[in-house]
Symmetry: C4
């Protein structure tokens, strides 16, 4: 098995909702995911590892190391039992992306997730004052609920690349309801404003009280972290001991 | 399993024929496939999903989303029970192409398909007045039947890339009869004339009455749709949040 | 299963020898393989198909089609029961190469093959009058036998790429004896002289009478055939309906 | 199964330690690994082959051939029963790297390995007089032990690419303790001084007497060997019989 989820703690949710925030357009997903887990002091319950992630490990300041991974946190909100998935990267190939998505869905079913809510950015290439939240949903019912919160359906065009799209769309086939929330953004920089809008929406939707003041600082922190990850991952694409002709077989 | 066919409705055909029309040379396959399903009001009976398709989903105008897929429609013609397979894309790698073909054959056997008829274009690089229909067939019997309809055998040279060739050729190994019909075309543009010839051939061969007048409009529509799909699929090959050195791990 | 060998006729050999002649340096392997099967009128007993071959089919002059494949022929020589493997291509990736080799070994064991003899070229970059036959063998015993026929051991340096090396080396792990015969050659053109030397060696070694006169003509024929195959295979690496930005998802 | 470990001799270790020395930054891992096995006259007990290694075989001076591989040697030190893994290459893809690592861990568990110690280089881009040994460890206990030997924890930053990182990090998930020792080095050349430091550390740690005088000569030898391997492996990325357009299907 090339992707596995290792449970730290077995959870059993009632009508659980999985929220995912992974790297993507404007870093909105990742900023939202990290902010939620940190501010809500959500509890880590599982870790996802995949052979489709880069073949390298990160060194920690304390002299330890860790695999590249995605992590799943639990937070019992008033409105629903939430799992929040965050992580360093998404899988490196189409086959890997689908496999990781299937594995997340398998785990989700096991622990009682019923709805899947992914967070991403919607790149307009423009800088706008008002940043709307666009979305697509798998079921009418869910669409109607989010419309009441001002979420805009039917205006985002084109396609969603990666887990933010695959998870709800594959999830529909496997019996889940799903929605992908997309913060309107330029696309060329980390958008803390758009991320804040989505955090607020999620808080309102689930009846969570969350302080939004630290979001700007946290977004900068997320950006810095991701830049480092990015630089490191480039190393697995270059041979450390390069031959004159640039053969890359020595990892 | 990395490719799956999900049945909406179980069909049981008697001497069924599977016709495939997927994107390819001159878009002839796709135009023919879409025209047949739409004009004949064929009924959708199954959907094929594959981990070898791009890892992205399309957003719909109604605020919903859908995976990249191939779809299978059913139309009971006078001459034979037809299934028509159409779709957004073909698999992205050799291994994926073979796997998808095997899965289609497995499904075909299960529902009673006996013959496989794929539709593609044969690129000559020239603009000709008369557009012939070339073909290759797996069995003499089938070749003889189609010759009577003016189809030209033994003149097309070289190879057929993708599902249009793999499906009948692999199908032969699995006990099916097969033919690949190729509309003569320039290769550099969408060829509605060549597509119309093949629709007419299929209609005549199976005793179907079909109005050919809307084909030009539909071909333009197919072209537009494909251009959009094309643009979107390029996105899964570029990182949305690009690093200065262009690392593409963030999907 | 991504590679399969379909038997046309079940053979049961006693101390059988498998000879392989596939495309490679100086086309020597392929010329030798094809010449042996044609001149000896060897009987086709099995066909190997693989998902690791290009995803395309060849059209025949008679209006039929065939998958890309390797073929196995049987010829009962005086000295030993021979199987000869020839084909269009080798697998397209490392994983594919190993898989195809393992499948050939599995089949070989089943039908009673004990020794594996692959044929290739050894490129010197020089044009030499006298073209030696170099070789490496898995067992001392085999090495000694071939030395008596003038085959040179211990002078060829470096590595052997593809099935010509993998098959005997992997074969050793699976209980076979093996040798790779390499005709000395320039490397930049099809070398009929070097191929003839190897055909003669094989004939002498197994006590086969074979007319060598037609070899030059046949070598030219092999070259022509391979050039065509080459041109066709390039097509599976280019999209037939290319987008302006060159996306290649339409096969 | 695409990666396999073939045992030459079954070992059963008590609190065994696996040391790996494979090609990487400054060639430090490989020099250390080869020096240890040769100077300690360690006994070869197993060989690892993988479909994720290049599809080629090396020719030997004696006219034999061998697959690309990793080898495992056994040396019963005073302080612990050691296995030393050395080899030509690391796997060619992320999926391959993870698979090979998992296979090594599976074997390790079977034979009684408890701790995993990988050796690599830490590239600073600078030439320094004093070459420290940096490390990251999976458990506090191990970190503390190595600190006493002057090993520096918490200063190396970034990530470790390949087996040197994957093996201890994945190993932690599978119940092993692990450490990655990294010799400080420039990164642009083979660093025998840094390698010697690590050999000395390992000798001291396990109470092994080992002569360090030959290390310079052996490092040069390792470098020469690797350059050859490098040159050869490039061949599997180029077609031996190249078409004008550079198609690479003929391996």
């Amino acid at each position: 098995m090339e992707t596995e989820i290792i449970e730290k703690e077995r959870v059993k949710l009632k009508d659980g909702v999985l929220i995912t925030g992974l790297p993507g357009i404007g870093l909105i997903g990742q900023v939202v995911g990290r902010y939620l887990t940190q501010e809500l002091k959500a509890k880590k319950v599982a870790t996802l590892y995949s052979h489709h992630f880069p073949h390298q490990v990160f060194m920690t300041k304390k002299g330890s190391m860790r695999l590249i991974k995605n992590s799943i946190y639990h937070y019992p909100a008033k409105g629903a039992d939430l799992l929040i998935l965050v992580g360093d990267v998404q899988a490196m190939s189409s086959v890997g992306q689908y496999e990781v998505a299937e594995k997340i869905l398998e785990y989700s079913r096991k622990v009682g997730i019923k709805k899947i809510m992914t967070v991403g950015g919607y790149s307009t290439g423009k800088i706008t004052e008002k940043k709307r939240i666009f979305a697509v949903a798998t079921h009418k019912r869910m669409l109607e609920k989010f419309k009441k919160f001002g979420v805009v359906f039917g205006e985002a065009k084109g396609s969603i690349v990666g887990i933010a799209g695959l998870l709800p769309a594959l999830g529909k086939l496997r019996g889940f309801e799903g929605i992908c929330l997309m913060g309107e953004t330029h696309g060329g920089y980390v958008d803390a404003v758009s991320a804040r809008n989505i955090v607020k929406l999620i808080a309102d939707y689930f009846g969570i009280t969350i302080d939004l003041k630290k979001l700007d600082a946290k977004a900068k922190d997320s950006e810095k972290m991701l830049k480092k990850i990015e630089e490191e991952i480039q190393k697995s694409m270059i041979a450390p001991y390069e031959s004159p002709k640039g053969v890359s077989y020595i990892r």
